[in-house]
């Protein structure tokens, strides 16, 4: 299996989804070698994790998030920073070297970053290729075409693959639309969540100020995610202005970083709601968990969200959600409010309803928590095994 990241060295959903899927596959007795473009300790015992290090490179060190540069330390001691496009090219060459002398039945590559490597393996060894699409370029670029180099790789990969897996019907539709792949070649394998993996909250909450404000009748609305065009934050701020006009005791907590960070801060100020919006930057661990716990509502206003796990994580911490209808999670999660990402009025209407009616918030939470107990990666892994069996010669 070819992947780009695994927790705790992940920048977002891709690493988490890969890890969960592999763990569930391991339980179905699938033997996995997970090949990463960097070296690190992951503490994983259900599969082997290998770093595909390029020739002449001693180690690769990740810095920051997935779309940032990696530092390559060469055997002669010199260092070089590579951008993401060069990295995936290098990863392709490294994987090609790595497979020599190794036995495997199928190659399963996650997202365009590993797609070139996947195609190279297929070409060299003739084994079946599965491309697992966690997002397409048009998602990531907010529907504005995208990077032509990435589009080209993605298109080639989904055509060359024996089968394509998409994390949602939404993503499947995007692949059919963008690349003209026959729909029956694409299997929808919804992401999921394991209740047992949720790190519990401790008793005190990091956000002292917000907790105090809630005690005074304020309500807190949360967004967690990369501050990038795909995530639709400008619409959330426009809706926030309407909400705050109706319900002045509403605060918005925006957790994450990305290229829109400063732009969003400026937009909030321009809208005259700067005093009600709190930006925290990128968070992990307790601060990240406590953000859910201190909030009354989580909003995911994404323009195009292939899956979008955060609303389910929010449930785990007792927070209900408004989710964009242009998301994969809205296909499988019932007890939440749903809105078209462009419908700012309706988004404001739903947020206002929740912050003004604790009954609505509490009923949503209660039912979402009941629903959440049924989520599991087991179904996803069974679907994947089924696809494997269709393509591996001699399999049951």
């Amino acid at each position: 299996m070819l992947g780009w990241e695994l927790p705790p060295h992940n920048s977002g959903g891709l690493g988490v989804a890969c890890l969960q899927l592999c763990r569930a596959l391991a339980k179905q007795n699938i033997d996995i070698e997970f090949v990463l473009p960097y070296e690190a300790e992951h503490g994983i015992d259900f599969m082997s994790v290998t770093a595909a290090t390029p020739q002449g490179v001693a180690s690769v060190i990740r810095s920051g998030i997935a779309y940032d540069s990696y530092k390559y330390i060469k055997e002669d001691g010199s260092e070089e920073w590579l951008n993401i496009y060069d990295q995936q090219e290098l990863y392709e060459k490294s994987v090609e070297r790595l497979i020599d002398g190794r036995e495997f039945d199928i190659v399963h590559a996650h997202d365009w970053l590993t797609a070139r490597a996947g195609m190279r393996v297929k070409e060299k060894r003739g084994c079946p290729l599965i491309i697992h699409v966690h997002s397409v370029e048009s998602d990531r670029s907010g529907g504005n075409g995208g990077n032509p180099l990435v589009l080209e790789i993605e298109e080639m990969a989904v055509h060359m693959a024996e089968r394509v897996m998409a994390v949602s019907q939404h993503t499947k539709n995007c692949i059919v639309r963008d690349y003209g792949v026959p729909a029956d070649k694409i299997e929808v394998v919804h992401n999921s969540i394991e209740a047992s993996d949720i790190v519990p909250l401790d008793t005190d909450n990091t956000y002292r100020y917000l907790s105090a404000m809630r005690a005074q009748g304020y309500r807190v609305v949360l967004n967690v995610g990369r501050l990038t065009i795909q995530k639709g934050l400008p619409n959330l701020l426009l809706a926030a202005k309407d909400v705050i006009f109706r319900a002045p005791k509403t605060l918005f907590l925006i957790v994450g970083s990305g290229e829109q960070y400063y732009e969003l801060i400026e937009q909030a100020a321009d809208l005259g709601i700067g005093a009600n919006i709190f930006f925290t930057g990128f968070l992990r661990g307790k601060q990240w968990r406590d953000a859910f716990a201190v909030s009354d509502l989580f909003v995911m206003p994404s323009i195009s969200e292939p899956f979008g796990l955060t609303p389910l994580e929010a449930v785990a911490y007792g927070t209900p959600s408004v989710v964009s209808k242009q998301s994969g999670v809205s296909e499988v999660f019932k007890n939440c409010l749903k809105v078209d990402f462009w419908d700012i009025k309706e988004m404001a209407n739903q947020i206002t309803s929740v912050v003004q009616n604790d009954d609505l918030r509490d009923t949503l939470t209660l039912n979402a928590q009941a629903e959440y107990q049924n989520f599991s990666w087991e179904d996803a892994s069974k679907k994947v095994v089924h696809v494997y069996n269709q393509h591996v010669v001699g399999a049951a």
Partner: protein
């Protein structure tokens, strides 16, 4: 051999559904019930559809049956809200109901005008709505109802006690096993703590054979024919009255014409009346004809809904209880305004359907179509309702009333 009667009773109701009514409408537009015609919540469109698919074809058959079979009789309850809608949008359908009652063999049953749960929240408002309904029935059908049914057959000792004091001949309830115990629903009973009133209990097994199972090809008794059904009833030795109570919309709406439901209805009287001891009765005729065989004590509320047969479909979560309490808390202030438009809007919000749409009981099972709702989710229903509630409060504040 003693006489045996089928007591057929059909319930006709349409609520005034709330349109997609947002926080931006509250304080600006007061037209909660006026969705655009193409919307799922358009009351006008639904009235047209149900008149076309159910009321007109069913009434045409019922009228024919009344003409062909002098012994055929039935009872109807028809809410004030549906009468208003038919007056406005489907006068031909209303006329067809009047043609039924003009035969003198169709009895109208009393209930609240707005199909509300007022009995449990405000006895004064409950009595006003029952009076409003009786007045409307008198005006439209020229009858004064003598038998009472509470919304959704909500029944307990208190309801029976009230109806007895109010002078009704009989009251209707679900013949639910925990209430009946070993007893059969096919007799007339007397409610506990009452003096004169009779209790008629729905035979839910036989009623549901028609209302729910009729078109189900997986049911072992499918297809259900009129002669088979008449035979089942005739073979039952321990019975005086078979109380077949169901939603009127069973005919043509819940069971589509293609299931053969109309043919079943057309043939049932003829098949049943083949035996000279068999007859049909209206609800008050059954109350007059048969002496009560026992006393039924019902301390807990029983309804005709869901497998629980309780109020949990309307008052099962905090959105439902919170919104209904908020609504009734405005009662005195709204009535004191003497603003008839405001009072009527408030009353339309008391209709039980609004709370039913907020039910989350079955939402998690994936069967969101298990209940009839024009909304995608129960949460949407709640948001629309609460925004309308806030607007009622706004209208009160415009009149200088602080809520």
């Amino acid at each position: 051999m003693s006489q045996k009667a089928i007591v057929l009773y059909l319930h006709v109701h349409q609520p005034f559904r709330i349109r997609h009514y947002t926080v931006f409408d509250a304080g600006v537009n007061h037209d909660y019930f006026d969705a655009p015609y193409e919307d799922d919540t358009s009351n006008e469109r639904i009235a047209h559809k149900v008149a076309e698919k159910s009321y007109l074809p069913t009434n045409a058959r019922l009228l024919q049956l009344l003409r062909d079979n002098p012994e055929f009789k039935l009872s109807l309850s028809i809410t004030g809200t549906v009468i208003e809608q038919l007056e406005k949008w489907a006068p031909a359908a209303l006329r067809s109901f009047q043609e039924l009652t003009e035969t003198g063999r169709v009895e109208i049953v009393a209930e609240t005008y707005h199909h509300s749960l007022a009995f449990f929240y405000s006895r004064a408002e409950f009595e006003r709505q029952v009076k409003m309904h009786a007045d409307k029935v008198k005006e439209v059908f020229g009858q004064t109802p003598k038998v009472f049914r509470n919304t959704e057959l909500c029944y307990n000792n208190d309801v029976a006690y009230w109806a007895d004091k109010a002078g009704y001949k009989a009251i209707l309830a679900e013949g639910w096993d925990p209430v009946l115990g070993w007893r059969s629903p096919n007799y007339v009973y007397r409610p506990a703590y009452t003096e004169n009133i009779r209790l008629l209990m729905k035979n839910y097994k036989l009623s549901d054979d028609i209302a729910f199972r009729f078109g189900d090809r997986g049911w072992s008794e499918w297809p259900l024919t009129a002669d088979k059904f008449a035979h089942w009833l005739g073979a039952n030795q321990n019975a005086t009255n078979f109380d077949l109570f169901m939603d009127y919309e069973t005919f043509g709406e819940h069971q589509w014409e293609s299931t053969g439901i109309f043919d079943f209805l057309s043939h049932l009287p003829k098949e049943w009346l083949k035996n000279e001891h068999h007859t049909f009765m209206t609800v008050s005729e059954a109350a007059d004809a048969f002496e009560p065989v026992d006393v039924i004590d019902t301390p807990n509320t029983v309804t005709w809904a869901d497998t629980e047969r309780d109020l949990s479909a309307w008052l099962g979560n905090s959105m439902q209880t919170g919104s209904i309490q908020a609504l009734y808390s405005l009662e005195d202030m709204v009535l004191a305004t003497n603003d008839l438009a405001l009072i009527e809007d408030w009353r339309r919000l008391t209709t039980s359907d609004h709370f039913y749409y907020m039910c989350t009981k079955y939402f998690n099972d994936g069967d969101i179509h298990a209940y009839f709702s024009p909304y995608e989710t129960p949460y949407e229903a709640y948001m629309n309702f609460m925004n309308a509630y806030h607007d009622i409060k706004f209208r009160l504040s415009q009149k200088g009333i602080e809520v």
